[in-house]
Every structure is written in structure tokens, then in C-alpha cells.
């Protein structure tokens, strides 16, 4: 069963579409379920790849 905008529905009754993107910033997959041309479910799973980084540096004195 799939949660949809029309409530729980049997997956077998729906058209399933999937996609993914993989680049330096993320690996993302998504799944959509359509009923008679209407998008009634869409979920996404994003894996973040790029950290945010601060660079700490101690200055050399006397220069």
C-alpha cells in the first residue's frame, strides 16, 4: 500500500516512476506514483555529500 493524496492505495493500481541524480553535492533518488495522469505520491531520499568546512589557522607572530 502506498500513501497518496487519495489515502492508502494498492501499488499495483498505480504507475510508478523513479529517478536519481548523483553529483559531487548529493546522491538523490525519488519515486513517484501516478493515477490517470495525476501525481498522487512523491518521496525523495537525499544523501548529502559536501560538508561545510571552516578553516582554523594560527598566525605566525613577527612577520
Amino acid at each position: 500500500m502506498i500513501t497518496t493524496t487519495h489515502g492508502e492505495m494498492d501499488e499495483a493500481l498505480l504507475e510508478k516512476r523513479e529517478g536519481k541524480v548523483d553529483n559531487e553535492n548529493e546522491h538523490t533518488t525519488w519515486v513517484e506514483y501516478w493515477l490517470d495522469g495525476e501525481l498522487i505520491h512523491r518521496s525523495a531520499h537525499i544523501t548529502l555529500k559536501k560538508p561545510v568546512c571552516a578553516f582554523g589557522e594560527a598566525a605566525k607572530l613577527g612577520e
Binding site: T3, T4, T5, V21, N25, E26, T28, W30, V31, E32, L39, I40, H41, R42, S43, A44, H45, I46, T47, L48, K49, K50, P51, V52, C53, A54, F55, G56, E57, A58, K60
Partner: protein, 152 residues
């Protein structure tokens, strides 16, 4: 053995733990860690390095999404490896059974314990919408190379 100029590695982790205060600091109510939350922002928002606190401006809205977002799990504190300190939430950030019809592409992680909801970091990704579904943000590997927050 010669002396070596350095930003001490442990101090980087200590900064993450709030143990240094070069400016006016705050009186902390307890020694417990702070709570963090993750809020989603529309592609039209302008979240970034200039953010100082959580803002509702440009935040997503929709079925089963509460303004302010969801809690971030921080079971594992900051670590160090080599000369890098790093921290990564210990579980995926999950928005369950939501409908977010307007495209969003960023998440702001902020300190929900601080009175002003201090901003921590902004992470972007390709634009998404969610329809009666679940958005899962899985964290990178918690190490010195990939950790979500790093001081190198």
C-alpha cells in the same frame, strides 16, 4: 623536536562544544548539549553564510510540515582526526508524510536551545517537491573528510 605553529586540534572540537568564548558569551543553564532542528527552504529563499538565526522567511509550508522543521539527532558529539574536528548528526533527518508542493532546495540547521535560534549551517541540494510522501536527508560519513560540519 621543533615547535610547530598550530591551531590546536582539540581546540577545534572544543569550539564545537562551546568551551571557548573570545567575545561576550552566554550563561548556560546546564552542561547538556543543545538541541538542533532542521528547517527546509524554498528555491526562492536566500539562505546562506549570512544567516545568523532561524527565519520563517522563505521556509516551506504544507501538509504535516511544522514551521521550524524537525529535530536533528545528535547522539554522537564532535570528534577529531588528524588536525580536523568534525560533527555529523547521528541519524537521517526525516519529514514524514508531508506535502510540499512548492520546490525547495535547502535545509538550515539551527540551535533550537538558544533563545534566538542561532543558525549553524545551510546545505543545498537539487530542487524537490514532496507529495503525500517522505523526504529523507541522509548524512554523509562522519569522518574528517566527509563529516557534515568540519573545522580543518
Amino acid at each position: 623536536m621543533a615547535n610547530t605553529q598550530a591551531f590546536c586540534t582539540q581546540a577545534k572540537a572544543d569550539l564545537m562544544n562551546g568551551l571557548h568564548a573570545f567575545g561576550t558569551s552566554v550563561i548556560r543553564a546546564a552542561t547538556t548539549k543543545d538541541a538542533y532542528k532542521a528547517a527546509l527552504y524554498l528555491t526562492t529563499a536566500t539562505r546562506g553564510a549570512g544567516d545568523t538565526v532561524y527565519s520563517v522567511t522563505g521556509e516551506v509550508s504544507g501538509t504535516n510540515y511544522t514551521a521550524g522543521g524537525v529535530a536533528v539527532t545528535t547522539a554522537t558529539g564532535p570528534s577529531t582526526s588528524g588536525t580536523t574536528a568534525f560533527f555529523t548528526p547521528s541519524a537521517s533527518i526525516v519529514y514524514t508524510n508531508v506535502t510540499l508542493a512548492t520546490a525547495f532546495d535547502a535545509v538550515l540547521i539551527y540551535n533550537d536551545t538558544s533563545a534566538s535560534k542561532l543558525a549553524l549551517s545551510v546545505h543545498t541540494f537539487g530542487a524537490q517537491t514532496i507529495t503525500a510522501g517522505t523526504l529523507t536527508l541522509t548524512m554523509p560519513t562522519n569522518d574528517a573528510t566527509n563529516g557534515l560540519i568540519r573545522i580543518a
